[in-house]
Symmetry: C2
Subunit: 334 residues, 2 copies
DNA sequence: TCGATTACTGAAATCGTTTACAGTACTCTC
DNA sequence: GAGAGTACTGTAAACGATTTCAGTAATCGA
């Protein structure tokens, strides 16, 4: 693979390396014959420039780093998909690294990506790690997903977690539910915290007394949703609706309810958050707060690319809006 | 980010760049005082070595390239997850690139990764592109996922598609089904072709006359599974079981059946392939052919890493075995 | 015919590292 | 006190590209 260098091509074609480089980059004036000959030799030898060497001198790698907390489920695959599509269209690669929760891990990942990427997209919903990022401010083009850092330190895109959750809960209230349970996400997770806050806001606005036993904690996995719902069913006064902080947990909850012989939505309503592609194929189809996840990735990549091209410019904070998608799992189709 | 170089550190610490390099790589003898001083200056200046420069001289990038057909759904997120975990543990990064179907796209992706990765994991189920890969043989460490290339050209890992599909269909037959439909995958897709072949083998072995109208084509998406099932329901003699070439399509099929008011498995049995994490949370829980997808990724990464370390060695062809997971969607729990 | 312009090409510096090689300054050993 | 080792450190040559600068040959206008 990396055996044939620009020198080989130059020697074989009887020109200097400079000329080969010029042919390759279609830069300056090269006579048609020379260009032709070099191109021919290059393709015969199977030459393609060495990325590292190139980026050493051009000071650009044409690669974006992507740091994610963990690669699990459709949520992350959709994000990566969005980022990759946008990056690829602009001729960029993406360097993915997952499972970075602790400060040290993030630090290490950042260091080891130095000189390999032109900028980074970081999704670090854990509230703890925000401080690490703080230090890094300004030294490197970064786009934050689901940050929760103070405004204008970084470019960032956040989901309208609070508004979306509030809206869904209000919808449930509107359809007569008052005992609405929530399967919340990890406590230290920013998105989870905001969604929970949205739930609480809606409950308060609806003058429903707060009942702590109605909120159980999950970790965004189907398994934890299943466990959460099971726990809720043991309550003396059973909730009439369950709002899960993401679709995976909602799906786990659905399955737990079925196991207990409960009908959804007749006996108990269920709603999720994210609208992963599978949500509409559930039985019953899952009502959820729609987030265009892949768009989230696209936006992040676009933002990062624009900041690479434009250099210094004011930081941008974007919000990704959510919409209610009412299917039949919450019984509020009317 | 890339402002502070080894020279800066050297100057600041009053030593040569060689010494700094030695401290960093913990290589040769450096006096404790010097080491201490250099380390202190380095961390004060926030130095970390420039990846490109480093890999230029060391001729190693500590990165693996991953070429995928498309990043969609849990299947791919699980694969990437498996690869990333293994790579990370070995101190490697992964460079992901998706949506490469045509020969030209794969070519371009391969070229542009030159000098940026030490080896590649390629998943190119399309039978067409196999020829492109052929050309590349031997020039670069490559592990193929779901290949279908002739043995011993590359390291490869393939799923036991044929055996798994056959086993599932035999299971359905054993439970009394004779009109078994299949929602197959894309025709030019290797995995899809093998799974279909497994279905046909099982039908033949069971002396069930082949009925072409029982096989409809999908593209591995939920949507196409939904469409496929809908189509099958229009048949005069309705099938009593549907075997989908992957879980996403099976899930789509489930949803179509529910919409038509059919009970699963009482009216019609459904089975899938892959056992994505969600399968068990379906309603009813989906019977499927279990594939440890994340292990597939891990194995691929492990294989590639070992070939990087060991250099030339005989090619390895591994098979990833499948197991039947009978849940209630196919009614054969007994 | 001469100088200027144009069109093309090559030599060499550069990017930020690693590493072979060549010192230097000790400490031992006899 | 000479020679040999040891422990450390610096110089400089790579790695494979890009790019500035200068040089050459051909063409052109006067």
């Amino acid at each position: 693979m990396s055996l044939v260098t620009i020198k080989d091509v130059a020697r074989e074609a009887g020109v200097s390396v400079a000329t080969v480089s010029r042919v390759w980059n279609e830069a300056a004036f090269v006579s048609p014959e020379t260009r032709q000959r070099v191109a021919e030799v290059a393709s015969r030898l199977g030459y393609s420039p060495h990325g590292a060497a190139r980026s050493l001198i051009t000071r650009t790698t044409c690669a974006l780093g992507v740091l994610l907390p963990d690669l699990y489920g459709e949520f992350f695959s959709e994000i990566i998909r969005g980022i990759d599509h946008t990056a690829q269209a602009a001729g960029y690669h993406i360097l993915v690294s997952s499972s970075h929760d602790s400060k040290d891990e993030i630090d290490a990942a950042l260091r080891s990506m130095r000189g390999r990427v032109d900028g980074m997209i970081i999704m670090s919903p854990d509230l703890e790690t925000q401080r690490t990022l703080h230090a890094l401010q300004g030294s490197f083009p970064v786009v934050l997903l689901n940050g929760g850092v103070e405004a204008n330190e970084f470019d960032s895109i956040t989901i309208e977690n609070h508004a979306g959750a509030r809206e869904m809960v209000l919808h449930l209230v509107k359809h007569g539910h008052t005992r609405i349970a929530m399967i919340a996400g990890p406590e230290r997770n920013y998105d989870a915290a905001e969604r929970r806050r949205g739930y609480e806001t809606a409950m308060t606005e609806s003058n429903i007394a707060h009942d702590n036993s109605l909120v159980v904690l999950g970790d965004f996995s189907e398994r934890s949703g299943h466990a959460g719902a099971t726990q809720l069913l043991t309550l003396e006064r059973r909730p009439t609706a369950i709002f899960a902080a993401n679709d995976s947990m909602a799906i786990g909850a659905l399955s737990a309810l079925h196991e207990h012989g409960l009908r959804v939505p007749e006996d108990i309503a269920v709603a999720g958050f994210d609208d992963i592609p599978l949500a509409r194929y559930m039985n019953p189809p899952l009502s959820t707060v729609h987030v265009d996840i892949s768009l989230l990735g696209e936006r992040a990549a676009t933002l990062l690319l624009s900041s690479l091209l434009q250099g210094q410019r004011p930081r941008q904070q974007q919000q990704l809006s959510t919409t209610l998608v009412i299917r039949s799992s919450c019984g509020g189709l009317s």
